[in-house]
């Protein structure tokens, strides 16, 4: 609204980018606006607030696709056993391919030291006060890691079931780890992380006789938000069920590296 004369009393005046100020005075007033009269203008954006993160994530994804590298984003609450699962997984896979791990923690190098002992290349990101990894952090980590082709990159996200859900990192698949000591109602309490994941690893299955955890109930709860979620029950400690997880990873390697883009190219060239 023009504050001098109130000539646009329908509310805020929307000007075009060239700022053509059209007051449409029909009353023939002889008034003058003061020299320091400031003009208001609405800039319409309709811009997704996560668009910056999503763009970087898309670039990370294409970079990894170009290297034929499989990237898995591992999310969970603290203490579900992500690092132990990764240690065992690396021991199993390291002979056949190059493996990388990006570790996200608020502080310390504890997990990186554990992973480095397995022979995988590990890089720690300390998020400080941050509660999740974002695509920019992964972009700078990728610049340092010099990823080889036909490799697997694991991202161990910050232990948190809330914040990492909203941030695409550029991974091929997202893996949620839940342990049987956490309770089967977690998918209903933290639906976003279960909705955005592809695979759910139900860890610490060796403790099932001692806790009131029904795996079928967890699956039922998770399918409320994500009917396509896959499940593998395992114990990183005893090794039970780990074979199914290794087989799943190798299937993803195949899927991630045989992406056929010839259809896109045909479309682009108008054939």
């Amino acid at each position: 609204m023009c504050e001098t004369c109130g000539c646009d009393n329908d509310g805020f005046k929307i000007h075009d980018p060239q700022h053509i100020h059209d007051h449409n005075h029909s009353h023939g007033d002889e008034h003058h606006h003061p020299d320091d009269h400031s003009h208001q203008r609405v800039i319409n954006l309709n811009l997704d607030i996560l668009s910056g993160n999503n763009l970087t994530a898309a670039m990370n994804r294409r970079f990894l696709e170009g290297r034929k590298a499989l990237c898995l984003n591992m999310v969970s609450s603290p203490g579900s056993g992500k690092t132990t699962i990764l240690e065992k997984t690396i021991n199993h896979l390291i002979a056949s391919r190059k493996l990388y791990v990006i570790e996200g923690d608020q502080q310390s190098l504890i997990d990186t030291d554990r992973i480095a002992n397995t022979g995988a290349t590990a890089l720690q990101i300390n998020t400080g006060s941050g509660c999740h990894l974002d695509a920019q952090m992964i972009e700078s980590a990728l610049n340092k890691l010099e990823i080889e082709s036909n490799s697997v990159l694991f991202i161990e996200n910050v232990g948190n079931l809330v914040c990492p859900a909203l941030f695409d990192l550029g991974e091929y698949k997202r893996v949620i780890v839940i342990s049987v000591t956490e309770g089967e109602d977690k998918p209903l309490k933290y639906p976003y992380i279960f909705e955005s994941s592809h695979l759910c690893l139900v860890n610490k299955s060796d403790l099932l006789p001692y806790v009131d955890f029904r795996t079928e109930q967890l699956i039922k709860n998770a399918r409320v938000v994500n009917p396509d979620l896959e499940f593998i029950s395992l114990s990183a400690k005893t090794g039970e069920g780990m074979q199914f997880w290794y087989e799943w990873i190798l299937r993803q390697v195949d899927l991630a590296t045989i992406t056929d883009r010839s259809f896109d190219k045909k479309k682009l060239s108008g054939i």
Binding site: L45, N46, D48, V224
Partner: protein
């Protein structure tokens, strides 16, 4: 507390657009937040209040438009309002539903002051 990261994305967008449009200050920013988007509005408000100090948004009014969640039941095709991501169909109690609204999280517009 990812709202701090989200607030800094909002500030980045406002700074970039203000610079691009050569405006001296922003007097109002309008943000759309879907009520099943996973964004906590009160926390976002506090975060924006803190990080906007000394920035282009320092004196801006924050106008938050809340968008209701809407789902379509995949079983009986009923369209219903969702207040939580895990709401099931009120008629047949089935799930999942196709989300048709409520995931929004956008900067809609800036009201700017210029010379």
């Amino acid at each position: 507390m990812h709202e701090f990261s989200l607030a800094s994305e909002v500030l980045k967008i406002a700074q970039r657009e203000a610079e691009k449009n050569m405006v001296r200050s922003v007097s109002e920013i309008t943000i759309e937040v879907g009520n099943i988007s996973g964004v906590e509005v009160e926390t976002l408000k506090s975060a924006l209040g803190l990080i906007s100090e000394g920035s282009i948004l320092e004196n801006a009014c924050l106008n938050i438009v809340s968008i209701k969640g809407r789902g379509i039941c995949l079983n009986c095709e009923l369209e219903f309002e969702m207040n939580q991501r895990i709401d099931t169909c009120p008629k047949c109690n089935s799930f999942p539903s196709e989300i048709r609204g409520g995931n929004e999280f956008r900067v809609v517009s800036l009201l700017t002051e210029e010379e």
